[in-house]
Amino acid sequence: MLDLSLFLIIAGVFLVATLYLGWLGYRRTVSNEQFMVGGRKMNPIILSLSYGATFLSTSAIIGFGGVSAQLGMGTIWLMALNILLGLIVAFLVFGKRTRKIGKELGALSFPDFLGRRFNSPFIQIFSAGIIIVGMPIYAAAVLLGGVNFIDASLDINRDIALLLLSVIVAIYVAYGGIVAVMYNDALQGAILFFGMILLLVFTYSTLGGVTAANQALTDMAVDPGVGALAADGMTGWTSFPSFGSPLWYTFVTTFILGVGIGALAQPQLAVRYMTADSSRSLNKAMMVGGLFILVVVGSAYTVGPLTNVYFFNEFGKTSMQYAENTDMVIPMFVNLVFENVFLGDIFVALFLLALLCAALSTLSSLLHTMGSSAGYDVWRYLHARRIGVDDPMTVLRGKDGGLPKAMRASRICTMLMMILVVVITYYMPLSIIAKATAVFMGFTAAALLPAYTHAIFSRVPNARAAKFSIVIGSLAWSLWAFFIHTSTSVNIGLCRALFGKDSLASLPWTKIDPLVIGLPISVLVLLTFLLVDHVRQKGQPSTA
């Protein structure tokens, strides 16, 4: 167990820096535009580190690192997809147009962007609703990752750790807005970057070097063997699961595609494009972002499987046999591997800090997105109705983005959403972090990605097509998740309550992620309505 006083000294320095950046953000936040998109002039280095640190969190390191420990290095394809879709396509294809159109429209949040682009309060409110309902689950998973690490490393009460983390994040997000969030993200991202390099280098050196460690992991497929997972298609920790096996479907459709594609429609990431002052800034940010993802995620997905070699050498068990929970593999490994090393306590304390940074950076961004969705997008609309503004869009087009009370509403909602997240954290089952991440990312992709793509590429966006695509995409995803996909239906419990079983289908359907069903349906609905409306317009007599 790590010496608490040592960690408190290091964490104290970090906390002072965090609160200082929060104060800096508070001083620079006097309007809605500054609270929501940092006045649209964020430094590209800060933008890239903030994007990376928001994208990659304890979920990627603790959650997916743990999944890699259980299922092997196949997750490396998720890293490739993170760079290809989550960075290159996101910045070059989506980011530049989102920034440009968002600035023209004066949009301040992702739902605001969609609402203004389609001239539809319904789309704004519905997409804000998706964030308010779905994002707390993802945020709870991120918070759980941070708490798990504290639990494994320090001799302090788990509830107190949870409370401390939540209060720190809630305060600097609520008062400092996006400026404080992004400044802190950059600091936390830099610490995380060097922390992960340290972990990767130390892991390989402990296990005898790159080739020796990888070979030992490859050999473990035979002795002790992949165990019960062999029946599901697992072939080893340095090989991909058998094509078409249940594990292959889970691996590819949930973890790789769910998070890989899901990254494109993440509201907390999309709003970062709108903080850039130019396309040039996005290009510069991409330069740093690629290396950041490669190092942080690559280290986590490589160290995860290698923990099996360590646990087998030390205890004669695989990682999962030792930790019994994917979410505890990395925290336990880090504490053990540095235990008898010179200055090991300092390494653990620094790595704990890096992990806390990963949790705080993503959590703060999610909290900012949830708070602004509830306060800015939903409350402002309801307020407009209450004060008798007939056309809510006139409120949406306020001079600095809306009513002056909107920022205060966003702050209050931020606090309320944090409380909700803490409550959800207490109800999270074991081995849930990676799954909860994939669930939220898959849901937002199925619901919002086709409409978002249409919004930025069409010269005349079709609100009717977008509305149906969003609603039916959400519905298709939800029905599949509730009644077919066992990984989610088991946790929701509705299928069992109504039908007495966890799924209404059989293999392989029960292993196919709802994203793979919901997204094509959402695309199909969008294209169908676009085609129907196009044919209708052509059939109408010209008024010219």
Partner: protein, 36 residues
């Protein structure tokens, strides 16, 4: 390659590294790009 036999795994690493190189080269080449 480096103790990993399955081409699906090491090709994933190679692909990710190539993509990272692309982001650095592209970002560098376009860091003074004119606005649309």
């Amino acid at each position: 390659m480096f103790g990993i036999d399955d081409p699906w795994i090491w090709s994933g690493y190679v692909f990710a590294i190539l993509l990272t190189v692309f982001t650095i080269v592209y970002g560098w080449m376009k860091h003074n790009e004119e606005e649309d």
